[in-house]
């Protein structure tokens, strides 16, 4: 019988439960994360207007560069300060 050696990292994917859907945004704060892509600020600005019109409070965050994952402290800060996050991915 031929046996091959597994070339992968052999990691098993951890299944995580999605966070429960928020009933509304009234009480919480929405993080608006700009990933530093060109024109991401246009998208974020418009979202800020739309949330504000509806009385939802927002906080702005920015990744140092879009080409690398968000630093851990930024992720923790957002998690501590906000109940939801919108990430602007578009160019």
């Amino acid at each position: 019988m031929t046996a091959l050696l597994d070339p992968t990292s052999e990691r098993t994917v951890q299944k995580r439960q999605l966070s429960p859907r928020l009933p509304d945004l009234g009480e919480g704060t929405v993080a608006l994360l700009d990933i530093s892509k060109p024109r991401g600020d246009v998208f974020i600005k418009r979202l800020d207007e739309l949330f504000s019109e509806r009385g939802v409070s927002v906080k702005h965050y920015r990744k140092p560069t879009f080409s690398k994952p968000a630093p851990l402290d930024l992720r923790q800060q957002i998690a501590a300060e906000c109940t939801a996050v919108v990430e602007a991915l578009a160019d």
């Binding site: 019988m1 031929t2 046996a3 091959l4 050696l5 597994d6 070339p7 992968t8 990292s9 052999e10 990691r11 530093s36 140092p64 560069t65 080409s67 690398k68 994952p69």
Partner: protein
């Protein structure tokens, strides 16, 4: 190290014959064995296939063939003279003069022909050889073994499990991986790097498995290991390179003595097909990024178009023919070091110039073509490597132009006026932001660390090549050079 590999021979001194019942020549030499057994010297008969062959002898039955493996027996019969646990002399098959030389006896096998070829040792049977290789390998393999069905084609099995880059791979059997690990002194379990995007620990063994699949020879392994160390740095940022919608993949430039030692090609078709080392080293890096790092097209890899170089893009510099110091020296390494330099790039883009006979003109050609990298109206973003061919390099050599001089001239030629490159200028929406392009501002097409020159290529052809980069600088990916531990 496994117990089997350090196993000592059953005797350390004297004569020893390896025979088997299933061998006519072994039957032929039985009288000779009897003569030797009657002599004064220590004499041991090892039988591969039967404990009762030859009859009348006290035989060591080499049931597991470990003794034969240790002796590296290829033929039965073979007569050995051992001294202090090592083979001092040997003769395979039956050859009277040879047996007499090994044993010191005279007049052996009277009545036998002078010579008879032997039979293949049972250690040489394909399945047996592989089993023994595994048993005696000093390397402890810890990766999961994937047992294939009896009707399963190993190459198709690799496809079915998502391990390939779209081309067939060499099936990574234990014996191939054990052989690959001979290419490094590093232990299989040693962690080379933590590889994004999955942030998985990448061991020497995992690199070896993927290097087998890529088609590497063991002597290429140190280059692949060094490339992975470079790839996993935050500076090089393989995560971003894997994830980007851009064309880019890791481009490898190899410098130093290892290039010649492992037969890499820096001459004709250096960026093309045909050289095993060039192609398989580059491919191995990408397979590790895929299989261990977890970057797959359509998954983390979101390239809009990608490029063929994402399969493999690896070449050595022609240092010997270069008018300039090698890239590795420019990067701060001594010339006797072997290094691998990673660059986030793709291409190549051609530079044709068959008419320039002075460096000023040729530098202008380079600048014209370098301007189009990314977009002619974008500046300060992508880096580039220019692979300067021998016929173009000659012009710079004859004029005494250093790399520094060439870089300075091109930077001067590629300082772009804001009015020309602003978004919307020339009826083209793409370009630099109009507000920063106002007020007579100028833009450097390349940053001071963004333009590199490497010498390679065939002797004929007034063509050089641009390897376009991704976004340079600390925010994205910076050229990264590491020494190869060889």
């Amino acid at each position: 190290m496994s117990d089997e590999s350090t196993m000592a021979l059953p005797v350390t001194d004297g004569l020893l014959a390896v025979v088997k019942d299933d061998c006519e020549t072994c039957h032929l030499v039985v009288p000779v064995l009897a003569e030797l057994a009657a002599g004064d010297r220590t004499f041991t008969v090892v039988s591969q296939d039967r404990a009762d062959f030859p009859p009348g002898f006290e035989v060591l039955h080499d049931r597991e063939l470990d003794i034969s493996w240790k002796l590296r027996t290829e033929t039965t019969p073979t007569i050995y003279r051992l001294a202090e646990g090592e083979v001092a002399d040997q003769q395979a098959g039956w050859l009277r003069s040879g047996w007499e030389r090994v044993t010191g006896a005279v007049g052996l096998g009277a009545g036998l022909p002078e010579q008879r070829p032997g039979c293949g040792s049972d250690t040489m049977l394909p399945d047996v050889y592989q089993r023994l290789m595994r048993r005696h390998s000093p390397h402890r393999i810890s990766s999961r073994r994937v047992d294939l069905g009896s009707a399963e084609d190993p190459i198709e099995a690799a496809y079915a499990r998502g391990w390939t880059d779209g081309l067939p791979v060499t099936p990574p059997t234990e014996e191939r991986v054990a052989r690959m690990l001979e290419g490094t002194s590093q232990a299989p379990g040693e962690v080379v790097c933590v590889l994004p995007p999955d942030l998985a620990e990448c061991t020497v063994e995992k690199v070896a498995i993927n290097a087998v699949m890529a088609g590497c020879l063991p002597e290429y392994l140190p280059v692949v290991l060094a490339a992975l160390k470079a790839a996993a740095t935050s500076r090089f940022n393989i995560h971003g390179i894997s994830a980007t919608t851009y064309f880019t993949g890791p481009v490898m430039v190899v410098n130093g003595p290892i290039r010649r030692r492992i037969g890499m090609n820096s001459g004709i078709n250096a960026l093309g097909q045909g050289n095993r080392a060039n192609l398989t080293i580059g491919r191995a890096l990408n397979l590790v990024v895929r299989n261990v790092g977890g970057s797959r097209p359509g998954g983390v890899d979101r390239a809009a178009l990608g490029s063929p170089g994402k399969l493999s893009f690896c070449f050595p510099e022609d240092e010997e023919g270069s008018p300039w110091e090698p890239l590795s020296v420019e990067r701060g390494f001594p010339p006797e070091d072997s290094t691998v330099t990673l660059f986030a790039g793709h291409g190549p883009i051609e530079i044709i110039d068959q008419k320039s006979r002075n460096p000023e003109s040729l530098a202008r050609t380079f600048a014209l073509q370098l301007r189009m990298v990314g977009h002619p109206k974008l500046a300060g973003m992508a880096d580039a490597i220019v692979v300067v061919s021998p016929e173009h390099a000659r012009i710079f050599r004859e004029a005494g132009w250093s790399k520094t001089r060439l870089r300075r001239e091109i930077h001067a030629l590629l300082t772009l006026p804001g009015a020309e490159v602003a978004a919307g200028a020339g009826g083209v929406a793409e370009g630099m932001p109009p507000q920063v392009a106002a007020g007579g501002k100028e833009f450097a097409k390349y940053t001071s660390e963004g333009l590199w020159f490497v010498h390679a290529g065939g002797d004929a052809g007034m063509f050089s090549a641009i390897i376009s980069g991704w976004i340079g600088g600390a925010a994205s990916s910076q050229m990264t050079t590491v020494a190869i531990d060889s």
